[in-house]
């Protein structure tokens, strides 16, 4: 009952202050709207950081079990040549990084497929569109997850996991006379990881993220099928019409392989092997810039679709 008596003076005061507020409305910068929108994505999709954290916990648990044999393994590695010794010592750390990268890659794929589809399916798009946030800001905030947030999350969690593994390993080696830190260059490993995440996950795979977001903005149902079937169909048509598989080859080159990695097929799996060897060469390769241009077109289309598409 007191609601009315409380609220009436409020609304009167409001109407009095209405004038000045209209002439000088509080301004919220585009950056701030963007930040809140990215934050909103993290609230909704907690798997962005929970999934890699869970995997990191699994890796650490596995590492703890396997740590018993660490001294023997290090002694055995001493017999190998320099390159294989390095690979053998670094193997668990590389494996941890690869597993975490795979995890966030999968998270990224599912995130993108749902990003512009889920809000239409649950009709909350009507709420988001009732706020002064443009379609451009919304799509950019969603795109920032695979382009910026996931690489950063991957980097932070991987480095933390590797640091913990190193500490645990060193504790196990205490008193054996063996030293882990002299065999592993942690700083270099982290730098290489960061470079790999930026070069491959964010830049080289840009058209993948753009394509998935476009499929998500486009589909009225089954965004996964919309994302995959057209590619499959394109490959099939090419196969039947020309009996070639350039499209499939191009897709494989883009997503399965790595851009100009310097490893031969027989070499051990290391971070260096799946990362473009020369940054200058990578940055000047036409393949990278073509991919980025394609990603930009996909994102522009997704922004336009977000404006047209209503709730499903």
């Amino acid at each position: 009952m007191n609601s009315q008596s409380n609220a009436m003076p409020d609304s009167r005061r409001d109407s009095q202050t209405n004038g000045p507020q209209v002439s000088a409305p509080a301004v919220i910068s585009a950056t701030r709207r963007m930040c809140w929108s990215v934050r909103r994505e993290l609230w909704e999709n907690r798997s962005i950081y929970l999934a890699p954290l869970a995997v990191a916990a699994l890796i650490l648990a596995g590492f703890l079990i396997g740590i018993v044999h660490l001294p023997e393994k290090l002694r055995a590695a001493s017999a190998l040549d320099a390159m294989h010794r390095q690979a053998s010592v670094e193997e668990p750390y590389t494996f941890a990084a690869l597993l975490l990268m795979f995890t966030t890659f999968v998270v990224g794929v599912f995130y993108c497929l749902d990003a512009l589809y889920g809000e239409r399916r649950e009709r909350s798009v009507l709420f988001w569109k009732s706020l002064p946030v443009s379609d451009l800001t919304t799509v950019f905030s969603k795109a920032s997850i695979p382009f910026v947030v996931l690489p950063l999350v991957t980097f932070a969690i991987t480095v933390a996991t590797q640091a913990l593994m190193l500490l645990l390993g060193s504790a196990r080696l205490a008193g054996t006379g063996l030293n882990l830190w002299s065999r592993i260059s942690f700083g270099q490993m982290s730098l290489l990881l960061l470079y790999h995440l930026v070069a491959v996950h964010a830049l080289w795979w840009a058209p993948l993220w753009g394509w998935l977001l476009l499929a998500s903005a486009w589909s009225r149902r089954a965004p996964f099928l919309w994302a995959t079937l057209p590619l499959l169909a394109a490959g099939l048509v090419e196969r039947i019409a020309f009996n070639t598989s350039h499209f499939a080859g191009w897709l494989a080159y883009r997503f399965m392989g790595s851009p100009e990695g310097h490893a031969g097929s027989g070499d051990p799996m290391t971070m260096a092997a799946i990362t473009p060897a020369n940054p200058a060469q990578f940055l000047s390769s036409p393949g990278l810039w073509f991919g980025l241009a394609v990603a930009a077109v996909f994102l522009a289309a997704a922004i336009r679709l977000r404006r047209y598409r209503g709730p499903i």
Partner: protein, 295 residues
């Protein structure tokens, strides 16, 4: 100044014409009720006002083109849609944080004040709230925004009587002042009758009736006719007749039929009709005309 101005507003979905060249002007400070049967084009019209759907024709909302300037327009416009559209995963506190983060005219303290009067806890997720509470939350968010235009599309659909009553009460008492404009569509016509300042009937994408509530009250009269005067009353060409408990109730359009209070008063008890009765009369006549029209 007009809040909404439309000229020749058209929208077609394939072969279905949802809006068939609508002209309307909603002045600032009015509460307009947009009434029509399902599929009449109400929601399409609202979507066009809000920049949610492209359209043909001219449309100006608060001096802006809603389709090309939706994000700027939404600084001055609030909107509650026909179904609960708050995301189910969001926490009440997160919803407050986000709106405060992106909306320059949002007064967080005010929204918290509204919520304090409800049973809604800040830590609750929307999916844990009842339908009535979700509407309360949405209303609290919207009422804390100092907007010039509020658009409500079936805001009380699916709510029980208590929540419905409360909804319009808080809207009028805590929100509305003469500088704001409200456009509302609803099927619960009787609830908004005392709320509206303007009335618009829409059917098959066309406006079939538009008047202020003052005009409505002076133009239409319902007479519960004494049995002995029924024939005389019918001769005055009512726009609708219905039977309630054995008595004839006739609805007159005073402007069209050139009848007035003095003629009708001796025939029975006079009163202002409900919007619902007028709606049925107008829509019924429309349907009759459509059926009677030569093919």
């Amino acid at each position: 100044m007009a809040s909404i101005e439309a000229r020749g507003l058209r929208k077609a979905f394939g072969a279905t014409i949802a809006l068939d060249g609508i002209n309307l002007r909603v002045e600032e400070g009015r509460i307009l009720g947009l009434i029509g049967p399902n599929g009449a084009g109400k929601t399409t019209a609202l979507n066009a006002f809000l920049g949610l759907t492209p359209y043909q024709g001219e449309l100006n909302v608060l001096g802006r083109n809603p389709w090309t300037e939706r994000d700027q327009l939404m600084r001055d416009v609030c909107f509650i849609a026909d179904v609960a559209v708050l995301p189910r995963w969001i926490r009440v506190s997160q919803a407050l944080d986000y709106v405060a983060g992106v909306h320059p005219r949002f007064d967080r303290a005010k929204a918290e004040g509204f919520l304090a009067k409800t049973d809604i806890r800040p830590a609750s997720k929307v999916r844990e709230l009842s339908k009535g509470m979700v509407t309360q939350l949405h209303l609290a968010l919207v009422m804390a925004i100092d907007a010039k235009l509020l658009v409500l599309d079936e805001p009380t659909l699916g709510l029980d009587i208590l929540y419905r009553k409360q909804f319009y009460d808080s809207l009028l008492n805590d929100y509305f002042d003469r500088s704001r404009t409200i456009v509302v569509t609803t099927h619960q016509v009787e609830e908004v009758q005392h709320v509206l300042t303007d009335l618009m009937f829409i059917n098959r994408g066309r406006i079939v009736l538009a008047c202020s509530m003052e005009e409505f009250e002076s133009h239409y009269l319902e007479v519960t006719v004494h049995p002995e005067h029924v024939a005389a009353a019918r001769a005055l060409k009512p726009i609708r007749e219905r039977q309630v408990l054995g008595r004839s109730i006739l609805l007159f359009d005073l402007t069209r039929d050139r009848v007035d209070h003095q003629q009708l008063a001796p025939l029975g008890d006079l009163r202002t009709p409900s919007i619902a009765d007028l709606f049925i009369a107008v829509m019924g006549n429309q349907a009759g005309q459509a059926q009677g029209a030569p093919r």
